[in-house]
């Protein structure tokens, strides 16, 4: 189909997407990736064989992305990989090309012979990519074709992570490729059990829970994102205090600049550390409320603990710190909806409509009161 007729078809069928260049063309991933140990000969060509033990280099990469470093470039080449020495009857498991997803899957396949079909999700994990549609029906069909999976396996079954389901129409994959999708467990840790149990997942493997250990691993990324947003505020407070305060620059920074910096820090601790950790116990359904309450409690503990320090300040100035803490802790708490496992689109929209005006108002009034008290003292 030439360009013009594609465009005509698109004008006619607004839902039709352009077929990406090279889609479905035969392609195997490069063997020149650090985790590839060799190749397995197949009718389609040599398929890269990967190990199931994670190297120090792999683990260092995991550590970095847990701290939000290089997280957008942590990927493997999409395509077909081999674990062990798979043959035409070995199971095919699918994954995203976020290297963390891929690494955890190959680790779970220790001691087995299997194929891994990696979809191009632009380095995003399975669940988020499924939500965006990049872990989706079209990419699945393209990747099956590009990997010549029909020539490599004799069965027509694909094991797909359950959390990939939001992007896939299993019946459409079946219709256009012949492959039947079998939804595997939610958690990669249940894969060995699932495979040993004739690809059956019990109800407990189908529910996405959000236990403390899952929330703890999210804290560093949240913290880094909170600091990224909070640090510019801190510098602005210090600078304005120094320039606008009645005292000398250094004195004004110390007296009026440090308290709002502490307020922002408390808000980051409340929103990015306490909200994830204490999520089930913080009152309210709204994450903005949970964040604000954590911020309030921290503020009361910290600033009343420092009475001797705060006694010399006007009530206006003290109120300004509280408003700043509440606004930012509420905002950062609300941002945790994105990493949580149970918030809905319409719920988040409802929460944002209600919370954002209050957060904005609280921040603006807080900053104004603080500015006023700069000139009063």
């Amino acid at each position: 189909m030439n360009q013009t007729s594609t465009d005509n078809a698109m004008a006619f069928l607004p839902m039709a997407k352009k077929i990406p260049a090279g889609a479905g063309e035969f392609r195997l991933p490069s063997a020149d990736q650090p985790f590839v140990q060799g190749t397995v000969a197949t009718p389609a060509g040599p398929v890269p064989q990967v190990g199931t033990a994670l190297s120090r280099q792999d683990l260092y990469g995991h550590f970095r992305v847990r701290w939000n470093i290089g997280r957008n470039h942590f990927m493997v080449e999409p395509g077909l990989y081999a674990v062990g020495n798979p043959n035409a009857d070995s199971p095919v498991l699918t994954s995203a090309n976020y290297k963390m997803s891929f690494d955890l899957l190959r680790q779970a396949l220790a001691g087995r012979d299997a194929w891994i079909l990696v979809l191009d999700t632009k380095g995003v994990n399975v669940w988020c990519a499924a939500g965006k549609g990049t872990f989706g029906t079209e990419e699945m069909l393209d990747r099956i074709k590009a990997s010549r999976l029909h020539e490599i396996v004799a069965h027509q079954k694909l094991i797909v992570p359950q959390l990939g389901a939001p992007g896939l129409e299993a019946h459409a994959v079946k219709k256009y490729s012949g492959f039947t999708i079998i939804y595997g467990p939610v958690s990669v840790a249940d894969i060995p059990n699932f495979l040993d149990n004739d690809c059956q997942a019990g109800p407990e493997m189908r529910i996405k829970k959000f236990p403390l250990r899952d929330r703890i691993v999210l804290v560093p990324v949240e913290l880094m994102q909170g600091l990224k947003q909070g640090i510019p505020f801190m510098f602005v407070f210090l600078l304005i205090a120094g320039l606008a305060g009645k005292e000398s620059f250094a004195e004004a920074v110390r007296i009026h600049g440090l308290p709002p910096v502490l307020s922002v820090l408390l808000a980051i601790i409340a929103g990015n550390i306490l909200t994830p950790l204490l999520l089930p116990w913080l009152p309210g359904r709204a994450f903005s409320v949970k964040g604000a309450i954590a911020g309030l409690v921290l503020f009361v503990i910290f600033f009343t603990g420092a009475t001797a320090f705060s006694i010399q300040y006007s009530l206006t100035e003290q109120a300004s710190w509280l408003l700043i803490t509440l606004a930012i802790s509420s905002w950062l708490g609300m941002a945790f909806t994105g990493a949580s496992t149970f918030t809905s689109l319409n719920g988040v929209k409802k929460e944002m409509l209600r919370a954002m005006p209050l957060q904005f108002f609280s921040l603006v009034v807080g900053v104004i009161l603080w500015g006023i008290s700069l000139r009063m003292s």
């Binding site: 959390l163 389901a165 809905s344 719920g347 988040v348």
Partner: protein, 90 residues
């Protein structure tokens, strides 16, 4: 962790049981146990209040019996969408 529950009054999930052909896939794909269904029996929606609008059930329902305004329950995704940015979310 039953107390991890979000706003349940704005959930857009709708199930048309008339259309259900009893494949059971909705109960397989739902990560929050909203549906119960075994092959051969029409599914039942037993916990609609736990729905997170991921859209897995709707996309995988071959009978088109389920509709939901599917999307990501993520503040940054909503803001990106409003601003028309194709930015990173998760």
């Amino acid at each position: 962790m039953a107390n991890l529950k979000y706003f349940d009054d704005v959930i857009s999930l709708e199930f048309n049981r008339e259309k259900c052909i009893g494949c059971g896939l909705c109960s397989t794909v739902c990560p929050h146990g909203v549906f119960i269904g075994r092959k051969g029996n029409k599914a039942e929606m037993i916990a609609g209040e736990l729905c997170m609008e991921c859209g897995a059930c709707m996309r995988n329902c071959p009978a088109g019996a389920i509709t939901v305004e599917a999307g990501e329950g993520c503040v940054r995704a909503v803001i990106n969408e409003l601003l028309g940015i194709d930015g990173p979310c998760c």
